[in-house]
Symmetry: C2
Subunit: 133 residues, 2 copies
DNA sequence: TCCCGATGGTTACCATCCGTAAGTGGCCAC
DNA sequence: GTGGCCACTTACGGATGGTAACCATCGGGA
């Protein structure tokens, strides 16, 4: 009832069902955190390895210092990255993915690939739709 | 430089790199739409097949009518779902995934699986972090 | 006749989030 | 003593999300 796609195993079936149901509320809390404007991008960028604040700021187009700070704090709180402060002048702060953070890379990639593949179609559909109105 | 994980192919390498770079801005527009509070949940629910407005409203825990309407409108605009109005009384409106919409299911599942797997760890990390402060 | 309920929304209003721009603090080079 | 580097932090305005109430249509029942 949940899935009709033959490629998906019973395990997937369970998991899709868990997206819904009342257990879904807790899950949604997690997904809301991960799926926000910048989190996936920061995680994907940190897949390179340890990076400093300004490195991240330069490599992620369009993020502000404020949003980078907030995103990094949330990721640290959730145990997806580590934050190491070196008591130097000028200050040096290094960010790196934890094991949990690294495990997020494949799903993030899969979503990014989807977006890249379908971006032209979506843009076209959006164009066509706004034309109609 | 982008990825160190051996499991990822050169194609993945390209794709990860495209998350960053200035092409990333257009991509981010797409991801922001998909990765918002409700979109993935609605798409996952519609994987069952054609559903009516109230079916969706009942099956998705916590969504309001307003947010459901807005989410469905966005999905329709982006060509991920179709909206069919039957001129009956009481009115009947049916929503179904398009081919593009269906193609989003595997990535969405993969992210949901990740969230389900790591939810306890993340909750624990969050607890521990708030304890410290 | 009058009211009710079902369906699929819309509107008003408020809280939270996001983005921009500017400021902070310590030290060092000029 | 002025400005720059680094990693933030603060102030403020606009966009986005959430809640609750309202709306329009029609058939059915009292």
């Amino acid at each position: 009832m949940c899935l009709t796609d033959k490629e998906l195993s019973p395990v997937d079936y369970e998991h899709t069902c868990m997206i819904r149901g009342d257990g879904g509320r807790a899950l949604r809390r997690i997904l809301d955190q991960i799926c926000n404007k910048w989190t996936l991008l920061v995680v994907a960028t940190l897949d390179q390895g340890t990076l400093r604040f300004t490195d991240l700021h330069h490599q992620i187009p369009g993020i502000s210092q404020r949003m980078l700070t907030l995103t990094l704090r949330n990721l640290e709180r959730d145990g997806l990255i580590t934050r190491t402060v070196h008591a130097e002048v000028p200050p040096r702060v290094e960010y790196a993915l934890t094991a949990t953070g690294k495990s997020l890379i494949p799903p993030a990639l899969s979503l990014a690939k989807w977006a890249i593949t379908h971006a032209p179609g979506i843009e076209a559909a959006r164009e066509a739709h706004t034309q109609k109105n």
